[in-house]
Subunit: 261 residues, 2 copies
């Protein structure tokens, strides 16, 4: 832990930025509770990639194209989920091709992957199933170890399935290829004080540690109302000091710290 | 069910549109799994209000102001959650005031509500707690039956707490004031066929029922892989026909229908 920092670690490195686009009418009708965002957000955070925005949008070509073009211009990476299956409402590949102004032909490798998968399972490779082999020109395949139909990378946009198990496998396979930022550490201190009591000293502490992101989150912990103070940041020295500072803040105010963090 | 339609029901009524903005760094770091969106989405859908887009953004004034102004211009209603507590990272009221170009003074009724709540609980009404009484000029209060600190309505923007229990109470109190659209009904048929088998006839059915929104959702049902076909729409006559049509589609293809929907 006390290893001297290398020059590389001392030099502030810019954090890559990312945006997520969750595509699907079912997310906006209330039918489906998304769980893909948190999966991606946690892993991006661990790699020091800043997730700046998420949009949840319907299966509507104009809306998808606009969101993709806006967010790919503004961020290092864009991740989309949903809409790459075989049915009529699966229009994400069409949208990405349109956003990049390229054609959407059958990709020979994707075609072989699907044909092999279907043959093994005695499934008819009909026209709809083979739609899943259409990849925008210039796209690179993302492996789908669950059901063969690949995702793809087009420029800085990664297009993945919406089914969580498939999305997770695709996302995990992408991660090693991403540029990383300074690792963002996180610590938390949970206490029995109210946010209104904590606010002033927390504001002062934030001013003392401008390089960190301090937040307070009221909630129930083991049934009782508690506030969790969270510090996040990539500054190793500041992060080594902040837990003690937060604990000191709580005890100075006469509060108790829950065994957690 | 066979009551003749009134003229009002026959005339297509435009559906009001809505956007949701979930505000909070914790949603983009993966620390917190949002559950507010689905709550709002289900209830808006039941009122015939079309939720067109959701954005999840950080506690960053420029980003919040931009999202609020973009989405309030484009939609009948905007709902925000998060960032109205007493701590330094609670900046949503400031952002809304800035978005509307108005001041953010202490609101006398909000002040009284908070003072009464604090007095009853022997809580010190310090400066940070009283920040929660600041309401943009022209804003109307939204009652908070849990912890007094109100939300507010500013123009067509409804500003609510992020804590689910408080958000839900605030949202429920808003609902009666919203303009409703034609009620969107929803039915589903779950079967043991693959999406690739269902795709072509489903596409044909969608063409026959352009006024409905047909979707197919693969997933696990009681442990087995199944596909749920969902039809949504406000056209009562079409909705009365679509369940049988979907069931017919499945049985014609030799599939079995799960007892559900």
């Amino acid at each position: 832990m006390n290893t001297p920092l290398s020059q590389d670690q001392k030099t502030p490195i810019s954090s890559p930025t990312a945006a997520v686009i969750l595509i699907g009418n079912e997310l906006l009708s209330g039918r489906t509770q998304d769980i893909n965002l948190q999966y991606m957000a946690s892993k991006l955070s661990a790699l020091g990639i800043t997730l700046r925005e998420t949009r949840i949008i319907p299966d509507d070509e104009a809306v998808v194209v606009d969101a993709v073009n806006t967010l790919r211009d503004a961020n290092d990476y864009v991740f989309t989920t949903g809409g790459i299956g075989p049915t009529h409402d699966d229009i994400t590949a069409d949208c990405i091709a349109s956003a990049f102004g390229v054609a959407l032909p059958i990709h020979p490798v994707a075609e072989q992957l699907l044909l092999a998968y279907f043959k093994e399972r005695d499934i008819q490779p009909n026209e709809d199933r083979m739609r899943m082999a259409r990849i925008p020109v210039g796209g690179e395949l993302i492996n789908n170890p669950v059901s063969a139909a690949p995702g793809f990378k087009m420029g800085n946009v990664f297009v993945m399935a919406g089914v969580p198990r498939i999305m997770q496998a695709m996302f995990d396979s992408i991660l090693p290829s991403l540029r990383r930022g300074p690792v963002i550490q996180s610590i938390s201190v949970t206490c029995n004080l109210g946010e209104g009591t904590l606010a002033a000293p927390l504001r002062e502490l934030q001013a003392q540690f401008p390089m960190l992101d301090l937040g307070s989150y009221p909630g129930k912990f083991e049934g009782a109302p508690r506030v969790m103070l969270v510090a996040r940041g990539s500054d190793t020295e500041a992060m080594s000091q902040i837990e003690e500072a937060l604990q000191g803040l709580v005890t100075t105010l006469g509060g108790d710290i829950e065994k957690s963090s």
